[in-house]
């Protein structure tokens, strides 16, 4: 397949009119002119597919089943479940029906809920398909942890530890210590999957994906993490961001910023994009998601990108926060996240630049070269 003469935004900061050749689902060539017949995209804008960095797409739960039940990423039976893996929660049809490619989204990170101090391991998926295992781009992209008030709401409501912030932080710190001391190779040490999972994060094999309510929470968490220099942290929101966050070590932390569409949640009301851009200037990686607490929508990845254009003048830089930056945070940047030779053809075509004009419409979206949405496709709908 040959895509001709679109304005190609590569996701890495550059934009130019180019031809793009796709072979076997991969980007084979990008050049000003490539000989051959192709799809004429003159005047259109070709972008890397957006990546919804942190989401619950593909998660089934109580709304879907004949019996009331918990969402499949929300094993709130006990507060420490690092051994769980969200791959077992993901349902391909449940995400496909959401038709995320109609808003340019070709991949998503999916994580356990904010209800457990250690929730389990996150993964990254394509956004169209049936079989979650073949749609999975990477497992174990991070260990989800939460220091947010959701934890004490769930367990405090049952009069079970942790019902306070003291309890939350104690569990967090003590399990890190236990996992640090855990050595499965030592004689007489019983295998422990919980400790093994946390140990992988302590050794830097996967980052901690950390839900926090405030700058103070983030500072406290980083203080607890001080003895473990290999741990990298992805904060799942910019909730409660203020100047105190400027003290965070850019080498160790990154942020996800979701569209704050739900103003029921006071934590996300005051959006300190001025602090966020200062952090970015210091080298902190920031990626966009379409989620705000429990609210989310397929439009919101683009909406958060549009919101960011009010604070970051360079729209190519904003685009990178919706493409290559999420790919980096999820560890799938070798596969996708930019229009680069050798990467998967996860692409979306808009009539205009969607970050500069509301009138931009998606005309086609591809996942690994397969067209999964074209303008005019019927709205998918459960009923």
């Amino acid at each position: 397949m040959l895509l001709k003469q679109a304005v190609v935004h590569d996701g890495l900061g550059a934009a130019a009119v180019c031809d793009v050749r796709i072979e076997n689902g991969l980007i084979a060539q990008v050049a000003p002119h490539i000989d051959g017949e192709g799809i004429d995209l003159t005047g259109m804008h070709l972008l890397p597919g957006f990546i919804d960095t942190m989401s619950k797409w593909g998660i089934n739960g109580t709304a879907y089943e004949i019996r009331p039940s918990s969402d499949d990423n929300d094993e709130k039976s006990e507060p420490v479940t690092p051994e769980l893996d969200v791959i077992y929660a993901f349902n391909g049809r449940a995400v496909s029906v959401q038709q995320l490619p109609a808003y340019g989204i070709t991949a998503c990170g999916v994580a356990p809920s904010d209800n457990n101090v250690f929730g389990g391991q996150a993964a990254a998926f394509e956004t169209d398909g049936v079989n979650g295992y073949t749609m999975c781009l990477r497992r174990g992209v991070g260990l989800k942890c939460s220091l947010a008030r959701e934890v004490k709401r769930v367990y405090g409501g049952r009069s079970v530890m942790p019902s306070t912030r003291m309890g939350i932080f104690q569990l967090f710190g003590s399990w890190l210590r236990k996992a640090d001391a855990y050595d499965p190779d030592k004689e007489g040490v019983e295998p422990d999957e919980k400790l093994a999972a946390i140990r992988r994060a302590l050794r830097g094999e996967m980052p901690l994906i950390l839900a926090c309510d405030s700058a103070n929470d983030r500072a406290l968490a980083m203080d607890i993490l001080k003895p473990y220099p290999d741990v990298r942290v992805i904060f799942t929101s910019i909730n409660g961001m203020d100047e105190q966050d400027l003290a965070l070590d850019p080498a160790r932390v990154s942020f996800v910023t979701g569209f704050a569409g739900g103003d029921l949640d006071p934590r996300s009301m005051n959006r300190r994009y001025d602090v966020l851009t200062k952090l970015m200037d210091r080298g902190v990686h920031v990626a966009v998601s379409g989620m705000d607490g429990t609210s989310y929508s397929r439009e919101w990845v683009l909406w958060e990108g549009m919101e960011l254009t009010r604070h970051i003048a360079d729209t190519e830089r904003v685009l990178s926060m919706m493409t290559i930056e999420p790919a980096r945070l999820l560890g799938i940047d070798a596969q996708t996240g930019s229009i680069s030779v050798g990467k998967r053809a996860d692409l979306t075509v808009f009539t205009m630049n969607p970050l500069t004009d509301f009138r931009a419409r998606v005309v086609r979206t591809m996942i690994a070269g397969r067209t999964v949405y074209q303008e005019g496709d019927e709205i998918k709908c459960y009923c």
């Binding site: 797409w57 709304a63 879907y64 029906v97 959401q98 038709q99 008030r149 709401r153 409501g157 704050a260 569409g261 739900g262 103003d263 029921l264 006071p266 009301m269 609210s295 989310y296 929508s297 397929r298 439009e299 909406w303 990108g305 549009m306 919101e307 254009t309 009010r310 969607p354 970050l355 500069t356 004009d357 509301f358 009138r359 931009a360 419409r361 709205i379 998918k380 709908c381 459960y382 009923c383």
Partner: protein, 390 residues
């Protein structure tokens, strides 16, 4: 007097756009709209290159004491009886709620505050401004509508209590029974002809239905998909005006809506959750263009506090993406909701005599994603100015 000078003025009136336009404000009202207005004796704000338009109207919101984090039931859903027509949303409102300050920052100057959707008939709705004095002085009109709800909300609430209505059959029955009782009550009052001996006992729930049956205010009905057709059928049966609120799935019923003689308008949104089985599963912003083309009055809602103030512009922007002309789309959050709420002689347009409720944008909202509110005025007072925020 205050003069907003040299802006692109979107009047939502005739003429629609005034380039290099001025708006003169006097005593909380708009005194004049035009070009090169005399500036003697005026405080002048130069808005060269800016967009000046009417303050935005949020046609359906619950800015009030909403139930947050298990702190009781909140104040907006009185889930003790499926018909609570006697209630008035005014008493649920916390005028100092943070949400009003944020509304000002996003250009929203008026909200229609409605009771929640847990009951089939919820109570009276009130239109209030986002800033000003005490609550009473911020009210523009009360009531502007009587709230009703179809579908999963009342069904879910009363299924949990084993009480009518546990089904959509039950909901239609409860609503029709209420309207019939209002009709009978009105007949008795009419027959009494002012004779206190013959008057029926005063019933506030039925009193609140009288302006609906008289078509003075609409029944404001939470409805999605097929429920919207049920609402139009009941509106025909009782000869009342309705608005269809939320209205996801409207694209399936465009012709029916265009043909209705009782549909005062469609109030769309919010889009703040993935697509789920059930009533909210069809997100179809394109329906707003189809309806607007056929002359149906359309508006957008935030449903705040369920979703944020910034959702209003973004959702209307999605209608533009779906093909609506921007100037038509902007009506969805100005003159159209004002008309549905019966407030179009006071808000929603920039014309002499109208309230000086104004939003100043840096660029064309719903077209330029980077457009942001620079200043908001209510009754001629600046209630938000960018950079004055902390």
């Amino acid at each position: 007097m205050l003069l907003l000078k040299n802006a692109t003025v979107l009047t939502m009136d005739e003429p629609q756009v005034i380039e290099h336009g001025d708006v003169l404000i006097d005593g909380g009202k708009i005194a004049a709209v035009g070009t090169d207005l005399p500036q003697e004796g005026c405080e002048v704000i130069d808005l060269t290159g800016r967009i000046v338009m009417p303050g935005l109207v949020d046609a359906h919101a619950h800015r009030s004491n909403f139930p947050v984090s298990g702190e009781g039931s909140g104040d907006i859903n009185e889930l003790t009886n499926p018909v609570t027509a006697e209630l008035n949303a005014l008493y649920a409102i916390d005028p100092k709620n943070e949400s009003f300050r944020i509304s000002c920052a996003y250009g929203i100057t008026t909200s229609c505050i409605a009771p929640g959707s847990g009951n089939v008939v919820g109570g009276w709705c009130v239109a209030i401004k986002s800033a000003g004095g005490d609550l009473a002085s911020r009210v523009i009109a009360n009531p502007v509508a009587l709230k009703a709800a179809m579908g999963i909300n009342p069904k879910g609430v009363y299924s949990g209590k084993n009480r009518l209505p546990m089904t959509r059959m039950g909901i239609a029955q409860v609503l029709r029974d209420y309207l019939r009782r209002v009709q009978a009550y009105m007949k008795k009052k009419e027959a009494a002809d002012g004779d206190p001996e013959k008057l029926p006992p005063y019933d506030e729930a039925l009193e609140h239905g009288i302006p609906v049956l008289r078509r003075e205010i609409p029944l404001k009905v939470h409805a999605y998909q097929q429920d919207m057709m049920t609402v139009l059928a009941i509106a025909d049966e009782f000869d009342i005006d309705v608005t269809l609120d939320h209205a996801l799935g409207a694209s399936d019923f465009v012709e029916e809506m265009a043909a209705s003689r009782h549909l005062r308008g469609v109030i769309y949104g919010p889009v703040y959750i993935g697509l789920f089985p059930g009533e909210g599963c069809k997100v179809d912003f394109d329906a707003m263009k189809l309806l607007d083309d056929r002359g149906v009055c359309t508006a957008m809602m935030t449903d705040a506090l369920l979703s944020g103030a910034q959702m209003l512009v973004n959702q209307v922007g999605e209608c533009v993406r779906a093909g609506m002309e921007p100037m038509r789309a902007l009506r969805m959050m100005t003159v159209n909701p004002a008309r549905m709420l019966g407030l179009d002689s006071r808000i929603g347009r920039l014309a002499p005599g109208m309230d000086a409720d104004i939003a100043v944008f840096s660029a064309m909202p719903c077209v330029a994603p980077a457009a942001e509110v620079l200043m908001t005025l209510i009754d001629g007072q600046i209630v938000y100015q960018k950079n004055m925020e902390g």
